[in-house]
C-alpha cells in the first residue's frame, strides 16, 4: 500500500518530525537552489547544503533512512552551534515510529493541498529564481498557479478605518482589472485588501500565510481563508499541521515580497511586519509604493517614512497600475509617479466650490491640489450631477466636514446648525455620494481613487 504513495507524501511525513524544518529536509534530500537569486541566502535556511555536492535523493529514500536511523544531516560549517547529526537522527527515528505516512497524505489529498519541493517539477516558476525561495511549498485553492500580474497590498493590523477602506478599494480595483492581489491574510489592511478583491471577483487572490492550513490565524479569519482558497490560492511554506507562531511571520513576509511585482504599503506604523516586507521587496528590486497618510495618523508613520525614503506614492489605482506597467488609461510618461496635472477631464473644469454634485469626478473641486489625473479616470463613470449649485445648509454642512471621520456632534458644533438639520443634510449628502458615514462622518469626494468602477459599497 505504501508503495503507491507519491514522493510528496514522504515530504509531508518528514516535515511532521520534530526539528525537521524545510531547510534541513532540503539538505537531507540534497536539493540545491537552481540559480543564485538576487538575494543571498539570509537568516532563513541556515542548514543550506552549501557546496551542493550531495546528490538528490527521493523523499521516500530519506524516509527509509530516517526510519532506520541512518539519516545524517550535513551541517553547514558556518553554524555557531551546529546540531549533533547523530542526536537528531535518533530523535527523528524515534518520532517516525508514530507517523502515519499514508494517513497524513490522505489528509492532504482530502484538503486539496499540493506539495512542491524547490527545484523539482511543479514548483511555481515565479518563486524558483528567488534567493530565499521556500524549500517546500504548500498550496491550496481553486487556482493553484501563481501566474499573472501580482500586487502585494499589505499594511498594519491596527489600521485606521480610512486605511481599511483604501485597502479594500485598492484590492477591488486591482482585482477588477485582473491583477492578482497578494497579501498575508492578517487583521486590518491585509484582510481588507482581500475582502475587496473577493468582492470585485476579478483576478484570483493569493494569500501567503504564516502557518499551516489546518490552523487559520487569526481564528476569526477562517472564512476569509476559505474564500481566498475558494477563489484563488493559499500559499504556505509549512505543512498543514504547523501553528502560526510569531517567528514564522517575518519569514512569510519574504515570500510576499518575492511573489509580488509591486508592493503597496497602505498603512504601517514606524516598525512592523509591513516595513520588513518593504525591505525584503527593496532587496529584491521590487517597486515599493506607499499610500500617503495624515501626519496625525500613527498608522501612517511608516508609510510616510517610506515615502520620504524614496518609495513611490500610491495616490490612486493608476499609480499602482503604472508601476505595474499595466496602466492603460490617461497616464503616460514616467510610470511612477504618474501625477502630472492638467490632464483633460470633467475635473479640469474645476467644479463649483463646496458641494457641487454627487459625482466623484466633479466634486474634486474641493481638493484642487489633487484634482487632475484621478478625476479624469472616474468622471465618465460618475452619476450625473443631481442638484447643481447649492448654497443652503447642505453647503455649510459639507464645508464643516473633514477628510477624517468625526462624530456627528463635532460636525454639528462646527457648522452651528441645529442637530436635526445637520443629521438630515448628512444623510442626503451621503446618498449623493459627497459624504461617508463609516465610523463617523467625513467628506467622500476623494473616495474610490483606488477602485474607479466599483459599486457604491
Amino acid at each position: 500500500m505504501t508503495a503507491e504513495l507519491p514522493d510528496e507524501a514522504y515530504v509531508v511525513a518528514l516535515l511532521s518530525l520534530p526539528e525537521l524544518w524545510p531547510a534541513r529536509l532540503a539538505a537531507l534530500l540534497g536539493v540545491v537552489r537552481p540559480t543564485a537569486g538576487p538575494c543571498a541566502p539570509g537568516p532563513v535556511g541556515p542548514d543550506h547544503p552549501g557546496d551542493g555536492s550531495a546528490t538528490e535523493r527521493s523523499a521516500r529514500d530519506v524516509w527509509e533512512l530516517v526510519v532506520r536511523g541512518r539519516a545524517r544531516l550535513e551541517v553547514g560549517r558556518r553554524r555557531l552551534h551546529p546540531p549533533d547529526p547523530v542526536v537528531l537522527a535518533r530523535r527523528w527515528t524515534a518520532a517516525s515510529a508514530g507517523v502515519d505516512v499514508a494517513g497524513l497524505w490522505a489528509g492532504c489529498v482530502r484538503a486539496g493541498v499540493r506539495v512542491d519541493v524547490l527545484g523539482r517539477p511543479g514548483y511555481p516558476p515565479e518563486l524558483v529564481a528567488d534567493g530565499q525561495a521556500p524549500w517546500v511549498l504548500f498550496r491550496r485553492g481553486a487556482v493553484m498557479d501563481l501566474a499573472g500580474a501580482r500586487v502585494a497590498v499589505i499594511g498594519t493590523r491596527r489600521a485606521s478605518p480610512v486605511g481599511r477602506e483604501v485597502a479594500r478599494e485598492l484590492g477591488a480595483g486591482l482585482s477588477r482589472v485582473g491583477v492578482r492581489v497578494v497579501s498575508g491574510l492578517a487583521l486590518g489592511i491585509d484582510a481588507a485588501a482581500h475582502d475587496g478583491a473577493l468582492a470585485a471577483g476579478g483576478g484570483a487572490p493569493v494569500g501567503i500565510v504564516a502557518g499551516g492550513f489546518d490552523h487559520p490565524y487569526p481564528l476569526r479569519h477562517r472564512p476569509l481563508w476559505a474564500q481566498v482558497a475558494g477563489r484563488g490560492v493559499l500559499v504556505s511554506e509549512w505543512p498543514p499541521s504547523a501553528r502560526s507562531e510569531g517567528w514564522r511571520f517575518p519569514a512569510r513576509n519574504r515570500i510576499i515580497a518575492a511573489l509580488a511585482d509591486v508592493v503597496v504599503v497602505v498603512e504601517s506604523g514606524a516598525a512592523g511586519g509591513s516595513m520588513l516586507t518593504a525591505e525584503a521587496a527593496l532587496a529584491r528590486g521590487r517597486p515599493v509604493m506607499a499610500v500617503p497618510g495624515s501626519v496625525r495618523n500613527p498608522a501612517a508613520t511608516g508609510t510616510n517614512r517610506l515615502l520620504a525614503d524614496g518609495a513611490a506614492p500610491a495616490c490612486g489605482l493608476d499609480d499602482v497600475l503604472a508601476a505595474l506597467a499595466l496602466a492603460t488609461v490617461g497616464s503616460c510618461g514616467p510610470p511612477v509617479p504618474s501625477r502630472s496635472p492638467g490632464t483633460s477631464g470633467p475635473a479640469g473644469s474645476s467644479g463649483p466650490p463646496g458641494y457641487a454634485g454627487p459625482s466623484q469626478g466633479s466634486v474634486s473641486g474641493g481638493s484642487s491640489d489633487q484634482g487632475g489625473t484621478l478625476g479624469s479616470t472616474g468622471g465618465s463613470a460618475g452619476r450625473p450631477a443631481a442638484t447643481g449649485r447649492s448654497t443652503g445648509p447642505a453647503a455649510r454642512v459639507l464645508e464643516a466636514l473633514d477628510w477624517d471621520a468625526e462624530p456627528l456632534e463635532t460636525v454639528v458644533r462646527r457648522c452651528g446648525l441645529p442637530a436635526p438639520v445637520v443629521a438630515a443634510e448628512l444623510v442626503r449628502l451621503e446618498l449623493a455620494g459627497a459624504a461617508s458615514s463609516s465610523g463617523g462622518w467625513r467628506r467622500a469626494d476623494s473616495d474610490r481613487r483606488f477602485d474607479r468602477r466599483g459599486p457604491e459599497r
Partner: protein, 510 residues
C-alpha cells in the same frame, strides 16, 4: 371557638386573597400555623404571642390552630400577623367577631404590639375581598389609593382593639396632600454643548425610543442620562398606580403622598444579577429593576460591563412589556414597560473613535463589541456617539439664562409632553408603540424619504425591522419639529436614520 379574618398575601406584584382561620380547642397549649407559610410567616406565632401579651390582652392557653386558606398557595412575609392576632382575639371572645365582618386586616406586629407597614400594601389591599381594611397607619395613605374601600389605620394593637370594641373612635387618616413632586433638580441646562446628545435625549423621551450613548469617559453620558427622567411627563393616573404597586411590592420607599407620580429612574450597577434585574426568588418573587423602572427609565451605565447573560434577559421584557418569572411552584407576570437608556465606551480604553487615541488592539475591541449581543443592540432605536465636550464650552460661564429657555428641562419637558399627547391621540402611549396599521396610517414616508430608505436597505445598512423602527423615530422627529401630519418628510427620515448610528461602528472589525 372559631374565627376567620380576611387578609392577603403577595404573589409578585399582585395580591392573593387569604382567609385566616383560627381554631381554639381544649388540649395541651400549642400554636400551629398551617397552609404553606414561609419562614417569616411561621414566625408570626412568636410575634403575635408577644404582641398580645404586651398589649395587655390575654393569650389563650389552649390548643391554637391557624389555617391560612387557600392552603395550596404559598404565604410570604409578615403581613398576616395582624389577621392572625385578630383571629385569636375573636376566637377567644376578647373582641366581637361581628366587628370583623367584611373587614380585612394587613400588617406586621411588633413585639410591643405596634403595627408595622409591610411591602406591597397597595397590592394586598386591592386583593382583599372585604368592604373595609385595617392597615398600619403608616400605610394608610398607600391603602387609600384603592378606590371604594374603607381604610382604617391603626398604630398599635391596643388602639385597634379599643376601636373595634367601639370604646374609642377610629383614628382619622386623611390621605396626604397629593403634592406634585417637583421635577428632579438635575436640569438639562447644566449640560454644556452636546447638541446632538440633547436632541437624541429629547427624541428618546418624546417617542419612548430606547437610547444608547457611546462615548469616551468624561463625555457626559451619565450626566445626560440622569436628566432624562426630568424631561419625561408626569405619570398618568393608571401608570402611577401600576408603578406604585410595583414599588410597594418590592419594598421601595414611596413618596410622601403614597403615590409615585414621577417616572421612576432606576440605575442598577453592572454587577447586578439576572434575578436583581428581571425579578425572582424562590419564595417571595420580588420584582426586579426592570419592573421598578416600569413607566420610567432603566439606565444601564457601562452597558458592556454587564454580563452578556444578564443583558440578554432584557430582550423579552423589551418586546412584551412584562416579565414572566416562572418557578417550580408558581409563575407570575411583572409589569416591565420601561425606556431603556444605556451608556458604554467604544472600547476598553474608552477613547475609541479618533485615530491614534485608542490603544486597544483590534481583537480587544472586537471582543468588547461582542459583549453586547446584536439583538439587544438592535433594540436601541436612538444611538448616538457622544464625544468629549468642547473645552471652550466647558469653561464658558454657565448660561443661566438657558435654564428658562429652549435648552432647559422645563422647555424640553413641554415639547416631550406635546409629542406624547399626539401619540395618545393616535391610540398609543408613545410613538415607539406604533405598529401595524397605526404605523402605516401615521408614518408614511414621502417619496424622497422612501428613496433614502431604499438606499440604506439596498446597501445592507438597514434591515426590514430597522426600517419599521426608523419610521417610528422619524414620526417622533417630525412631531418634535411640529409637523404632525401622517407623511414623513425626507429630513425627518434622514434624521432618524442618522440617529440610528451604525452598530458596526461599535463592533470594531475589519
Amino acid at each position: 371557638m372559631l374565627a376567620t379574618v380576611r387578609s392577603a398575601t403577595l404573589l409578585g406584584v399582585d395580591g392573593a386573597p387569604v382567609t385566616v382561620e383560627v381554631h381554639l380547642a381544649n388540649g395541651l397549649p400549642s400554636f400551629t400555623v398551617v397552609g404553606l407559610p414561609d419562614a417569616a410567616c411561621r414566625e408570626s406565632r412568636d410575634r403575635v404571642r408577644a404582641a398580645l401579651v404586651s398589649s395587655g390582652l390575654d393569650f389563650p392557653k389552649t390548643r391554637i390552630t391557624v389555617n391560612l386558606a387557600p392552603s395550596g398557595v404559598r404565604k410570604v412575609g409578615s403581613g398576616l400577623d395582624l389577621a392572625v392576632a385578630l383571629g385569636i382575639l375573636a376566637a377567644a371572645g376578647q373582641i366581637d367577631g361581628r366587628a370583623l365582618a367584611d373587614t380585612a386586616a394587613v400588617g406586621e406586629l411588633g413585639l410591643d404590639g405596634t403595627l408595622r407597614p409591610v411591602p406591597g400594601v397597595l397590592a394586598l389591599v386591592s386583593a382583599v375581598r372585604a368592604a373595609a381594611v385595617i392597615v398600619p397607619s403608616a400605610s394608610a395613605g398607600e391603602a387609600m389609593l384603592v378606590p371604594g374601600l374603607v381604610v382604617r389605620g391603626a398604630s398599635s394593637l391596643a388602639e385597634l382593639v379599643d376601636a373595634l370594641a367601639g370604646r374609642t373612635p377610629w383614628p382619622a387618616h386623611r390621605p396626604g396632600p397629593a403634592v406634585a413632586l417637583p421635577a428632579p433638580v438635575a436640569d438639562l441646562a447644566d449640560v454644556r454643548g452636546q447638541p446632538v446628545a440633547r436632541w437624541a435625549l429629547e427624541v428618546s423621551a418624546a417617542g419612548g425610543h430606547h437610547l444608547l450613548l457611546v462615548g469616551p469617559p468624561g463625555a457626559g453620558k451619565t450626566m445626560l442620562a440622569t436628566r432624562l427622567a426630568g424631561i419625561l411627563p408626569a405619570l398618568r393616573p393608571e401608570e402611577a398606580l401600576e408603578t406604585t404597586r410595583v414599588h410597594s411590592a418590592g419594598g421601595l420607599p414611596l413618596p410622601a403622598g403614597g403615590l409615585v407620580t414621577r417616572p421612576p429612574f432606576r440605575a442598577p450597577h453592572h454587577s447586578a444579577s439576572v434575578i436583581a434585574l428581571v425579578g425572582g426568588g424562590s419564595w417571595w418573587i420580588r420584582p426586579g429593576e426592570v419592573s421598578f423602572a416600569t413607566n420610567g427609565v432603566l439606565f444601564l451605565d457601562e452597558l458592556a460591563e454587564f454580563p452578556r447573560s444578564v443583558l440578554d434577559t432584557l430582550r423579552q421584557p423589551l418586546e412584551e412589556g412584562v416579565v414572566r418569572v416562572a418557578r417550580a411552584r408558581h409563575s407570575v407576570s411583572l409589569p416591565a414597560r420601561f425606556l431603556l437608556v444605556a451608556a458604554m465606551n467604544p472600547c476598553p480604553c474608552g477613547e475609541g473613535g479618533p485615530v491614534g487615541a485608542c490603544v486597544c488592539s483590534e481583537a480587544v475591541r472586537t471582543r468588547y463589541g461582542q459583549r453586547v449581543s446584536g439583538p439587544l443592540l438592535d433594540r436601541f432605536d436612538v444611538r448616538v456617539v457622544v464625544p468629549r465636550p468642547d473645552p471652550g464650552q466647558l469653561l464658558a460661564p454657565a448660561a443661566r439664562s438657558e435654564r428658562g429657555r429652549a435648552g432647559g428641562s422645563p422647555a424640553a419637558a413641554a415639547r416631550v409632553g406635546a409629542v406624547r399627547e399626539l401619540a395618545r391621540q393616535r391610540g398609543v402611549r408613545a410613538n415607539a408603540e406604533l405598529a401595524g396599521p397605526a404605523l402605516d396610517r401615521w408614518a408614511v414616508p414621502a417619496p424622497a424619504a422612501a428613496r433614502l430608505c431604499e438606499h440604506r436597505l439596498a446597501t445592507g445598512r438597514l434591515s426590514a425591522r430597522g426600517l419599521t423602527r426608523v419610521r417610528r423615530v422619524a414620526r417622533t422627529v417630525a412631531d418634535l419639529a411640529g409637523e404632525d401630519g401622517p407623511v414623513l418628510g425626507e429630513a425627518h427620515v434622514a434624521a432618524a436614520l442618522e440617529l440610528r448610528a451604525d452598530v458596526t461602528v461599535l463592533r470594531a472589525g475589519s
